[in-house]
Amino acid sequence: MNSATVRNLLVRGMLAGLGAGLLALVAAYFLGEPSVDSAISFEEAHSHEHEMEIVSRSLQSTAGLATGVLVYGVAFGGIAALAFAFALGRVGRFSPRATALLLSGCALLAVYVVPFLKYPANPPSVGNPDTIGKRTTLYFLMMVLSVLLAIGATILGKRLAPRIGTWYATVGAVAAFAVVIGLAYAFLPVINEVPKDFPASLLWRFRLSALAIQTVLWGGFGLVFGELAERLLNPKPVTAAASGRVAVPS
């Protein structure tokens, strides 16, 4: 029974991830692609060597983009569903729907925003190909560190709550998270490989669109998965039972 529940949650998580991925794809295509195209134009205008095109731009910006964003959505949807199965009833007195949205918000911060603030997304032509190894290692390190610290902060908050109350425990846990992340920001190496004459407004637009894509993805996931999880775990209509409307004869 319980194993079946986990399986059902996992399937719903991946489906919700696919749905959220579709929403994110719309954001990526309309908000992100114009900046990618501008950045590639910049790259071509400033590069002396002309690379052979293996996948055409029209495929990269449609089918290629869709593959990447949808697989990303499904994969994180599955992981988030498993995290949800663990968090439900353990993080606090939240309904499945609220737990899902809370989890998605935390995932957006821990998986994306916190690493982004140290190592932001870069458009084509920003980034030295020779440092790809170092940049990849640092980015994934920052992501893993942020997720582990977020889990650690949650456990810390749960431990502190009985002693100092939920409010101060939450404030304390968030503060502890911020301090350790701040130390990581301070001690991890700085990467700045933006070409001198790269337009600042283009970089800004690209990075804003990257943030928007993730916000759409995780926001959409939280709402869709929350709805599916609520219906799976609480099949009765909550509002009718809570307001007692059903019992009152007219």
Partner: protein
């Protein structure tokens, strides 16, 4: 006291039952790893490290990799 009996369905949320770790673990191990492999192919394959030779995977997910925030060439 009689009032509380008459109103058993208040708005106080019921704490959802915890799912036992034993039920979650097998799914988490198998699918967790599978999902991470998928993320690796979207985010890093044929960048810093390569499992498949060439650069077809990299070129195919190129735009997604940039827009999802992964370091890309």
């Amino acid at each position: 006291m009689a009032q509380t009996v008459a109103q058993p369905t208040t708005t106080t949320p019921v704490v959802p039952a915890k799912l036992p770790l034993k039920a979650i673990a097998p799914w988490a191990v198998f699918f967790g790893i599978l999902m991470l492999v998928l993320l690796y192919f979207v985010g890093a394959e044929q960048g810093a490290t390569s499992v498949v030779s060439g650069s077809d995977v990299h070129e195919w997910v190129h735009d997604a990799r940039h827009l999802l925030g992964f370091p890309c060439h």
